[in-house]
């Protein structure tokens, strides 16, 4: 049992790492997609921007796929429920994620303005929409989602899609996530782009960091007043993984701050996030691009871990049947499964990080407009 609890906590941490990896790497590409028409004024500039992330977008996108697969295996009930209750946005997210690879590969293969313009819009939509959905999902989860289960484990939705997904708090979270993506993407363009891409990207990246910081602060105040969820029954962290028959749960205003009150060290998480954004904006203004990129990473780390530690052990509370809320204790896979997943993650995550870094190293340096336009391999 002790081992099972440790595995549950480990996979909650790994879930956080995956969600952060996804936000940083996919978010960066999405940010470039959003900025494509704003920063790139000519076709040559736009192609240069695409080729800056060209060798890497495919690998980055796998963070997203791995995130899905890992939630499926490590948190089967969370996967089964969240993907279904968020059906409409999940499908829109999916359409965006399908559009992007095709847009990369096909855009520059035909030299016609209409063709390329169409794909440029595809980049904008497929960059902005997923990031808004990504942030809004965090917002919705913080607020609680309406669902309950039948005795077989089949979920039933208790709220209509428009009624809860598009509320102001969730939309605000969506805008924050988009801003961080613009920050990260803009910084990447500064790292590998030359003038005039560099300066335009710098303006948008700084703006992204500042907007994110403002929303993060406002969101913090908002969360301290809105309903959080707490266990009122006796909790057995080693319980069988089922949302049925678990301890009672109640919604209480300000409850998402309980963990911070109990362990003040946790305030470090929001502090890191907030400082990442503010110092990041300053660093970009001082042309410290590499520092700025890593501060972007820290912003995501801080933001996602803030949400994580505020909610722990809740993963997705149910607003209509709180006792059936999904938590780290009741939504994971079996100990056997988590054991094997840990084994594979321990081998392959370091491998992935090393060969991904090697790829960035091989492709290092500035991407020039002339080279891109004349290279038959480029996007």
């Amino acid at each position: 049992m002790e081992i099972y609890i440790a595995l549950k906590v480990l996979w909650a941490v790994l879930l956080g790492i995956l969600l952060t990896g996804l936000a940083v790497m996919v978010g960066m590409d999405m940010g470039v997609g959003v900025l494509l028409r704003l920063v790139g004024k000519t076709d040559g500039e736009r192609r240069t921007m695409l080729n800056i992330i060209g060798p890497h977008w495919d690998g980055n996108q796998v963070w997203f796929i791995l995130g899905g697969g890992a939630i499926f295996a490590a948190f089967p009930t969370l996967y089964a429920t969240s993907f279904s209750v968020f059906y409409v946005v999940m499908i829109l997210l999916l359409f965006s994620m399908i559009m992007r690879p095709v847009a990369f590969e096909y855009r520059s293969k035909v030299d016609a303005t209409k063709w390329r313009d169409t794909w440029d819009w595809a980049f904008l939509i497929s960059g902005a929409l997923p990031m808004i959905v990504y942030g809004a999902a965090f917002g919705n989860v913080l607020e609680g989602v309406g669902y309950h289960y039948s005795w077989t484990g089949q979920y039933f939705q208790d709220e209509s899609f428009l009624g809860y997904l598009l509320n102001p708090f969730a939309v605000m979270c969506g805008v924050m996530s988009l801003s961080l993506a613009v920050y990260q993407g803009g910084t990447m363009l500064m790292l590998r782009g030359e003038e005039p891409i560099y300066s335009r990207a710098r303006t948008y990246a700084t703006l992204g960091a500042v907007v994110a910081a403002v929303i993060f602060a406002v969101g913090g105040v908002w969360i301290s007043h809105m309903n959080g969820y707490v266990f009122t029954g006796t909790v057995d962290p080693g319980m069988a993984a089922t949302p049925l028959g678990g301890p009672a749960v109640a919604a209480k205003a300000g409850a998402w701050l309980n963990n911070f009150h109990a362990y003040p060290i946790l305030w470090l998480a929001p502090a890191i996030g907030f400082l990442g954004m503010i110092v990041g904006a300053v660093a970009l203004q001082l042309h410290m691009k590499i520092v700025g990129w890593w501060l972007g990473v820290l912003s995501w780390v801080g933001t996602i871990s803030t949400v994580g530690v505020a909610m722990f052990p809740f993963l997705m509370p149910s607003s209509t049947a709180p006792a059936e809320s999904l938590t780290v204790w009741n939504a994971t896979g079996s100990a056997y499964n988590l054991g094997w997943m840990t084994f594979f993650a321990a081998i392959f995550v370091p491998a992935i990080l090393s060969y991904t870094s090697w790829c960035y190293y091989v492709m290092r340096g500035k991407v020039k407009v002339e080279t891109v336009v004349n290279d038959p391999h480029s996007y």
Partner: protein, 543 residues
């Protein structure tokens, strides 16, 4: 418990089937072309001949057009388990999600990270380093297929997990049983080699097109020969593995093999005929027309001379006691969920293995509650439930036959192609070259029919014997389904149009032959020049 609206189940099935089949239009070429690219580049690195580098570049470009859309549409499947098959995901996520996650960790990351270097790294990597990158892409894409088919193997023959009444799901308990499931292993080899066949036919067909027009002679001849030999070996392997798979189905999925063979009544060995053609009628449970070859069925399916092969009607009736037991299992399970009593658990354990058949009966129980099935109602519930326990025979029978006929056609065409290519007599056989060209889509079609056989033949189950398809879906409104189906229709139609347009454009354009510029015929130049100048208006400026 209310059941999911049958319309939603049907629409969810339609959506999954269409998006999966669409995805698999692109997968076989990815599997096959990565291997062929690795082979071409190997020859280039060893011999240093420019033509092999040109080959790697050109086929790599076409591979890229295909790869992008294959990667993109694969995501759909992973999403749909969660968005449309919630109950399924909850029921098997603990064991089915694992190979998918491992696929991401072990294979997909490798394939996708290195594919960027494969395209962009030509000038930044040494020859051996670039070759290694190409190998890693090929390895990644094929390992990816392995893990996906391990997951699918679990749906076909669930081993490596057992049902846990406390969590109401299948729980993973045996890694080796899951990964080395004979079904998964045979199907992995069968499917990925089917992809090699598709890759070989693609390269051979487009090379044949150049030969017919006298363009890129050396390039086309070398590509053709490589593809023909690779294709011949691959098709023979596919057919062999196909036979092995049929044998496995005979052992673990008797309803599927009987449906594939249109066998309503248990066969009488040894003279039982193998049906070449038939018109299976699922409503009357008989074949309205049959053409068969006697004495072939038994050795073909059972690999013996005197084993009777169970027919569908007999299989149905044999399921009657399983339905009875299943009803008891479901009732006990429901009671256990409410009371956690030891007696209900003991009753459940007694009938556990027939639980899936209880789900089948649930559909016909009053208020979908198995507790309300009275002894008077039982016979009719039993008969309705067992009628649901076999797949659609017409679809399974014919999709299997189309796949198989295509398989043998590939053996023939690759054999001729390889023979005349080795004898350098291809120019004398323009008909064969034309046939090669027109056969490019055929292996892809064969894989699609293979999937239809495997998945339609598995019905009515998502997890064979454990969870019926109609119990697996998410509880959506029909409106949601119409929204997503319409979106897929729109997006996927646009993509396939763009894909085919680019594929034809670049295939017609032909390779850039850097090293053999002198071999360019005048015809070549007249085609290539204006297209390079103004790609968007290629045809116009040519005229």
């Amino acid at each position: 418990m209310p059941l999911i609206d049958p319309n939603v189940v049907d629409l969810s099935r339609l959506q999954f089937a269409l998006t999966a089949l669409y995805h698999f239009l692109f997968v076989p070429l990815t599997l096959g072309l990565t291997i062929m690219l690795a082979a071409m580049e190997t020859v280039y690195v060893i011999t240093g001949k420019q033509v092999y580098k040109d080959m790697t570049h050109f086929w790599g470009k076409l591979f890229g057009i295909n790869f992008a859309i294959g990667v993109a549409t694969g995501l759909t499947m992973e999403f749909e388990f969660g968005t449309n098959w919630s109950m399924y995901s909850h029921f098997v996520g603990d064991v089915f999600g694992t190979p998918l996650a491992i696929e991401g960790l072990m294979a997909f990351f490798m394939e996708s990270t290195f594919v960027g270097l494969m395209f962009f790294g030509w000038d930044r990597l040494s020859k051996p380093a670039h070759l290694a990158v190409t190998y890693l892409v090929a390895l990644g894409s094929n390992l990816s297929a392995l893990w996906i088919l391990v997951a699918n193997g679990f749906m076909q023959n669930p081993q490596g997990a057992s049902f846990d009444p406390d969590t109401m799901r299948m729980q993973f308990n045996d890694f080796t049983a899951l990964v080395f499931s004979p079904d998964a292993q045979a199907k992995f080899v069968h499917t990925s080699i089917a992809g090699f066949v598709a890759g070989a036919m693609f390269v051979m067909g487009i090379s044949a097109y150049y030969m017919l027009r006298g363009r890129h002679r050396e390039f086309a001849a070398r590509s053709f020969r490589m593809a023909a030999l690779f294709g011949l070996v691959s098709t023979l392997a596919v057919v062999t593995l196909g036979d092995a798979l049929g044998r496995l189905d005979y052992l673990v999925q008797p309803t599927k093999i009987a449906a594939m063979e249109g066998l309503w009544h248990t066969s009488t060995p040894p003279s039982a005929p193998w049906l070449i053609a038939a018109l299976p009628n699922d409503a009357t449970q008989s074949n309205s027309m049959e053409i068969g070859v006697p004495y072939v069925l038994t050795p073909l399916v059972a690999h013996s001379l005197n084993t009777p092969i169970p027919g569908l009607i007999d299989l149905e009736q044999a399921n009657v006691p399983r339905v009875d037991n299943g009803i008891k299992a479901i009732a006990a399970l429901q009671q256990y969920g409410e009371t956690h009593s030891a007696t209900s658990l003991a009753t459940f354990k007694q009938y556990e293995n027939d639980m899936g058949y209880g789900f089948l009966a649930q559909r016909y129980a009053p208020n979908q509650d198995v507790n309300l099935i009275t002894p008077a109602l039982l016979p009719s519930v039993e008969q309705q439930a067992v009628k649901d326990s076999i797949p659609n025979v017409f679809v399974t029978f014919w999709s299997f036959r189309i796949m198989m006929v295509l398989g043998f056609y590939f053996v023939a065409i690759f054999a001729f192609a390889a023979y005349y290519s080795l004898k350098n007599q291809l120019e004398k056989h323009p008909m064969l070259l034309k046939l090669c060209m027109w056969s490019i889509p055929a292996p892809i079609l064969a894989t699609e029919f293979g999937w239809v056989t495997a998945e339609a033949g598995r019905q009515p189950w998502t997890v064979y014997g454990w969870l019926p398809t109609f119990q697996s879906a998410s509880s959506h409104d029909v409106g949601y389904m119409i929204f997503s189906l319409a979106g897929f229709a729109l997006l996927y139609s646009a993509f396939i149009a763009a894909e085919l347009y680019l594929m034809f454009k670049f295939a017609r354009l032909g390779p850039d032959e850097h090293g053999v510029a002198a071999h360019h015929s005048p015809v070549d130049a007249s085609i290539a020049a204006p297209i390079f100048a103004k790609p968007g208006f290629a045809n116009k400026s040519w005229e």
